[in-house]
Amino acid sequence: MSHRIVVVTAGLTVPSSTRLLADQLAESVTTQVSARGEEVSVEVIELRELAGELATFMTSGGVPTPTLTRVREQVSGADGLIAVTPVFSASYSGLFKMFFDALDPTSLSGMPVLLGATAGTARHSLVLEHAMRPLFAYLRAVVAPTAVFAATEDFGSSGLAERIARAAAELATSVLAQGDYALEGFGPDLAARPRRTSGTQVDSDVTPFADLLKGHSG
């Protein structure tokens, strides 16, 4: 079985150091998953290409554009997520937040997530803990213990590669551990399995109306 990893990167320039970090994280995760004898595929979503569509979505009361619909399905259907943003004014970028605001609240339930951020200086490094983790905690994602921050100077240092490898190993473990639920009849785990929805499909699993009516009989 092949595992799908989606990379969301909010870098704005081309080339972008945020994209560079995202690519290094993705490559390392691929290596780690492959090293465990499993297949993996990586899909990259560049948020700058969705900027206009996200603005349309936000200002039109949630009319989903075809591209945004496809991306929302892509994310909620992934087996793992790598999310990387540049730091703007002591937090993730507005574009990054707008994207996660446009997802269904259950899109990332129980999903293994690896966080990364870039900035010009190491003084911004706590953005991972004080801004990004709370966002993904709210979305009930399973965030890897190691998150990777890269200041400009880090791109020339050996420490970054080690942190990337450690974080990638954690994500790989988490991705491969999915689906290990209790055997049927031996526990309630199957019922508690996280349910992810893209928010783009009408739920056709309807409650019969007699149940909705709850005894208000004619």
């Binding site: 349309t56 309807v206 909705l212 009989s217």
Partner: protein, 374 residues
């Protein structure tokens, strides 16, 4: 097939002149628009119900009663009646009275309303939106169908030996549509009772509308009211027409760009691509509208939103001339041509429901009951 217009009753300044009509002027304009609908051969005028600015339509029965007195054939409907915050007893009385005044030219569209604060204004809890829609509508059905009602529910004081007056005209309650954009429960509700399902359509992509209508159709069949393609479907749409596409866009663009709902957001072109909004020639409107049936199936009622975003009433009346004289006659013929023989052309009317007799399923509070799986 029925064609008509539905108004959301927004009081919006004309962005090209800065002039904002008074509430009185807007009510007057809506009345002229309704009368024009009959004059140009449209079938239905539907008015929204709102209880907050910038909307003016808080009392649909008062307005529709006035319009009823000045028209002869026009069907009068709502878009929508708030089944969540209105007392179902008052709805039963008001619309039965309107039915008598108008000679049965009344149907209703139920909705939950789109503004959170309206719930507490009327003493309701927005978290109970679906439950209110379910219980209140069921009570409404009883009030219109049972001469003496005993009732105890969660949301309203109990009724003992209560008789709603006046009884519906000819003992036949108005036909009801359930309007919903994205709640599967409401599609299920419409299907359960065999009522009509209306998808507002105008702020949504066709893939979404298609899914909601399909769900309603499947459940309509499940509850034994007929085949899925015979279910009673209504769709919204919004248009602006000119002699050329460029001219229509030039004229409509400032209104679109400043409209209360989608203004200052997506471009006219993007929004036209994403939603049913069609700004162009009458031929383009015909082609686009005919395409609705390709994904929603052959349907029974098409309502256009046409008097919004600050458009001057004179412009709206011109649009209605084009709609009534150039667009709708072609749509009628073309929709009939493609419609299979077993699919009803019109939704039920007062005349057809009376003709079906007092034992028709419409007269049962729960017509689906024998068909439901235990």
């Amino acid at each position: 097939m029925q064609f008509g217009i539905f108004s959301v009753s927004d009081v919006t300044a004309d962005p090209t002149t800065g002039k904002r009509p008074t509430e009185g002027e807007r009510i007057e304009a809506m009345t002229r628009i309704a009368l024009k609908a009959e004059e140009v051969g449209l079938d239905v005028f539907a008015t929204g119900e709102h209880h907050n600015p910038p909307f003016v339509a808080s009392s649909p029965t008062t307005h529709l009663g006035y319009i009823a007195a000045k028209t002869e054939k026009l069907l009068l409907s709502t878009a929508t009646t708030l089944i969540t915050t209105n007392d179902p007893v008052k709805i039963a009385e008001d619309y039965a009275f309107l039915q008598h005044l108008s000679g049965g030219r009344v149907d209703l569209m139920m909705g939950r309303g789109n503004t959170g604060p309206v719930y507490p204004w009327f003493g309701k809890d927005i978290r109970k939106g679906i439950e209110l829609a379910v219980e209140n509508y069921h009570l409404l059905r009883k009030l219109w169908r049972e001469p003496v009602v005993n009732w105890q529910g969660e949301f309203r004081t109990p009724l003992q030996g209560y008789t709603s007056t006046p009884a519906p005209l000819d003992g036949t309650p108005p036909f009801v549509w359930h309007g919903s954009i994205r709640s599967p429960e409401i599609a299920e509700q419409a299907a359960y009772y065999g009522d009509g399902f209306f998808h507002n359509h105008i702020f949504w992509n066709k893939e979404h509308t298609e899914q909601m209508v399909r769900l309603y159709r499947q459940r309509f069949e499940h509850y034994g009211h007929g085949a899925a393609d015979q279910a009673i479907v209504g769709l919204g749409g919004q248009v602006f027409m000119g002699t050329t596409e460029a001219e229509a866009k030039r004229q409509f663009r400032p209104y679109f760009d400043n409209a209360p709902v989608y203004g200052h957001g997506p471009s006219l072109e993007d929004f036209s691509e994403l939603t049913p909004l069609t700004v162009g020639t009458p031929e383009q409107v015909i082609e686009r509208t005919l395409g609705f049936a390709d994904y929603a199936g052959d349907y029974q009622r098409q309502l256009f939103l046409i008097d919004h975003a600050g458009l001057p009433v004179e412009v709206v009346l011109e649009q209605m001339e084009i709609l009534g004289k150039e667009v709708v006659p072609v749509l009628r013929a073309e929709f009939e041509r493609r419609r299979p023989a077993h699919v009803p052309s019109d939704p039920p009317t007062h005349a057809s429901l009376v003709a079906a007799g007092p034992d028709g399923p419409h007269h049962l509070v729960e017509p689906a009951r024998p068909k439901v799986d235990a």
